[in-house]
């Protein structure tokens, strides 16, 4: 027996070593995996799209793929409002069709949407201004698993090594960790209303952007890039295999003639495949979309218009076995309310804004009404205005300052010039002055409210302005 034990001793040590090594490796992998998921070791400036991966499986009715035109231009919350459908936008900067293909594969691991909508911007020559390397980096953050590494492989070799293990660049974040406040900031936050279901709120309607009249071109038919066609076909095949309808769009932006020509090549491809498409750049200039400064992305007014029309198109052309859940209904609705409340409710829900004014007894509001410019004053809005003490004249300009449902100062036709609590305010037909700030309001129409926290903000906070022109004015012009 002793001889046997003696002979077995080396094997015991060998096995003991193996077991201990295995334990150490297991401990290391578990610890590493745990640390890798901690907020401290993530890049705080990027979007990992946790929200998508935390969705219940197979809950989405549609997924929207594309570039920043999509994630700034399409609000699933608004589409939910208009159609009742659950959707998600999986967009990234200048997203190529190759990346969209990877996104779609990734989406299909956990979701089974009935409809995939693909925006065709990347087919257009304007995309040549895109910096693809940094775009791939941003895109891979919102992916997991095999598709993440497929997008990482699109990077240069050196960057591939870095981003294959993001730990390498992020594990030094502890150096910036100063106190509990930093810690709290690093903890996962509830998605803000300006970033929900993939949608990023780009511009608040803080001031008047310019409205871009889409040019009328005589369109030629351009040519699609071979690589784009390859990945368009792959996306089409993947949808077909999974019994998913594929739809194309071209979300409005300042398109060149070459872009418009390429767009028609894309529609030709779609026609060959029997794919439906919605061209927001339609010939009768239905769209009078509001841009704010940049010429590529819609502000909230434009988003609202696009989502409304898109929802109509979807309802006309597709049918869904929509399985609503209380949880998701509640989330979409609450995001809609947040969006409305979070600075921009006036654009979407003017009645709500006026009701807010009724509750607010502390803030001064300036009112400016330009006669003949046809603000959309519905009966309900008229009643709410009356409750605030405002009775709009029919034929003259109107300026007033109110607080706590009382008109403190008002003027008809003549500009209102007033000093209040040490602040100077002037309201004219096309301008507004608050202390030293002068705002020229070109082509202002309708009814405008301005408010500011006169104790802390010097410049006029014009966020609470709204009107419903553009679309309606256009109708009246033609």
């Amino acid at each position: 027996m002793r001889k046997i034990i003696f002979k077995l001793k080396p094997f015991y040590y060998f096995i003991s070593t193996i077991v201990k090594l295995a334990l150490v490796v297991l401990m290391a992998l578990t610890t590493f995996n745990y640390l890798n998921k901690q907020p401290l070791f993530r890049n705080q400036e990027v979007n990992y799209d946790d929200e998508f991966f935390n969705l219940p499986e197979n809950c989405l009715d549609y997924v929207y793929l594309g570039s920043s035109h999509v994630y700034y231009g399409i609000s699933p919350t608004l589409i939910y409002k208009y159609s009742g459908l659950y959707g998600y936008t999986k967009g990234s900067d200048c997203q190529s069709f190759e990346v969209s293909y990877e996104y779609l594969k990734n989406v299909l691991r956990t979701q089974s949407p009935k409809l995939v909508i693909l925006d065709g911007y990347f087919a257009c020559p304007s995309r040549e201004g895109c910096r693809m390397e940094s775009n791939y980096i941003v895109a891979q953050y919102k992916l997991r698993g095999e598709e993440k590494y497929n997008v990482i492989k699109m990077l240069s070799e050196e960057k591939q090594e870095t981003y294959s293990n993001e730990w390498l660049i992020n594990h030094n974040n502890w150096k910036n960790f100063e106190n509990l406040e930093t810690f709290e900031q690093l903890m996962p936050q509830k998605p803000k209303p300006n970033r929900e279901f993939g949608y990023h709120l780009y511009y608040a309607f803080e001031e008047y952007g310019y409205a871009w009249q889409l040019p009328r071109y005589s369109y030629g038919v351009g040519k699609l890039d071979e690589k784009d066609v390859k990945y368009l076909n792959l996306i089409y095949e993947l949808c077909k295999e999974n019994n998913i309808e594929l739809m194309l769009t071209m979300i409005p932006y300042q398109a060149t003639k070459a872009d418009q020509d390429t767009k028609y090549a894309l529609w030709q491809w779609a026609d060959e495949k029997g794919i439906k498409y919605l061209d927001f750049f339609n010939d009768d200039f239905h769209y009078f979309v509001e841009f704010h400064g940049d010429t590529s992305h819609s502000n909230i007014v434009g988003v609202n218009m696009i989502c409304d029309d898109l929802s109509d198109f979807i309802k006309e052309n597709y049918s869904f076995d929509h399985h609503g859940t209380e949880q998701l209904d509640s989330e979409y609705s609450s995001f809609f309310k947040e969006l409305a409340r979070y600075e921009y409710h006036n654009e979407l829900d003017p009645e709500r804004y006026l009701r807010t004014l009724k509750e607010d007894s502390n803030t001064y509001y300036a009112v400016k009404y330009t006669a003949g410019m046809n603000a959309t004053i519905t009966e309900e809005r008229d009643a709410l205005l009356n409750e605030l003490g405002i009775n709009l004249p029919s034929n003259s300009n109107y300026y007033a300052i109110l607080k706590d449902k009382k008109i403190l100062y008002e003027s008809f036709d003549e500009p209102l010039i007033q000093d209040i609590e040490g602040h100077h305010i002037e309201l004219g037909s096309d301008y507004l002055v608050y202390d030293d700030d002068y705002k020229y309001l070109e082509n202002e129409t309708g009814l405008l409210f301005f408010s500011g926290n006169w104790y802390t903000i010097k410049s006029i906070d014009t966020r609470y302005t709204f009107w419903e022109t553009g679309y309606y004015n256009y109708q009246k012009m033609y």
């Binding site: 080396p10 040590y13 003991s16 070593t17 090594l21 150490v24 401990m27 290391a28 610890t31 590493f32 640390l35 050196e158 090594e161 870095t162 293990n165 730990w167 390498l168 660049i169 594990h171 030094n172 502890w174 150096k175 910036n176 960790f177 100063e178």
Partner: protein
Amino acid sequence: MQLDFVSIYYVLFCLIVFFLSRPFKAILRPYVICIANIVFIYSFGIMNFQMIGIVFAISYLFGILIDKLKFKKTFLAISVILLLYLLFMFKYPVLLVYDKFYQPIGLSFFLFKALSYLFDVKAGKILSVKNPLLLFDYLFYFPTMIAGPINRINLFISEIKSKYRFDYKDAKAGGFQLVLGIYEKMVICDYFSAIVAKTLDNPEITGWNLLFGIILYSFQIYLDFDSLSNIAIGSSRLLGIHLPDNFRSPYLAINLKDFWRRWHISLSSWFRDYLYIPLGGNRKGAFIQALNLVIVFIASGLWHGNTLNFLLWGLLHGLIQVVENMIGALLKFLHVGKKITIAFSPLLILINFTIVTALWLIFRYPTMGEVSAVVQRLQVAQPFSFELIGMTLMEQYWLYVLLAIVIITDILRYFTNVFGWFNKMFFPLRWAVYFTMMVTFMVFAVYGKGGFDPSDFIYRWF
């Protein structure tokens, strides 16, 4: 794919060699080690074999000639000249007669091993090695290729040829020392290195902040080399071959003589045994001893590099030791030597550390002009501020922790065998330490690309 010491590939490589070498009978182990050595060298480039082949041929051939034939001194002299020529050929390119020669990794280290072998054969301490495999294994033993320690052939061959008896505790201690070396390098040394760069390389950092950087550089250079040694000794111990310790709390030395008994022990003992003692050591009077000391340290300086600064660095080390010897002799004459040493040891340690740190400045910079610029910057007043250096609050706290770990560990190493003591620790406590090291390594180590390149080993290209 290079088998860099601080890489997972090296650890895996060591484990593979460990598992392959252990089960085999003693007769096969040299073959396994030989293949491991070849694979290791090959990972750094096939051109390394060029010089390795030449050194091996000279060592093997002249070892036999010295052992078996007459004219031992002549053969020794020829082999030493040839080997030293190869060494200085790369340090002083004017000697490079053939521009296709490729400087291999660890040239200085395996050349010194070759020289020590030939000297020992000449002195009759060992017989020449007939089995070329054994000599190859000794000269190009992979754990010692990068930066030593410069071990001696007799112990190596006896261990590699010995009948195999697996000592589990010994192997475990070796594995831990290997991991500890990597930890020391990547968590502590590279962290200090980043701060040193922020101070010494930033011309706007002066005064106290610069002094802080200089002191930290002392720690950096120590940890850099100590980590290499730990990796080498640990990975060799895994394979059942014991290498000598290379560091023994050098910054707790009370004078330079003590310092060199604790710093790069294998190199200083090599110079002692093969240069200082043959020159006469301390047996030919105080003047000759002083001269020998200066010669040895000039040689040591030149071994490190080919600039005047390295020569000056070595010369100053030699001269200061001469002065120390004179003071020591005086104190001994007054019969107060030991009492002074014991009573003032903390002060002596501080003074010695200051001298060594100041001399490291000469070591760091290629010219005296740059050293002088640093000294001038030291004189420009600047209040001490971590913010000026560019460190966040967390980085400061972590620095304190690391400095405490280094100082406490060194004090422990001064008094005891830390690894032995650790191995006897109660096992849950030991595993708690392993786990803490694992987590701190993951979080705090300086590694990877993406703007965080680990610093190169300072001693690799000597």
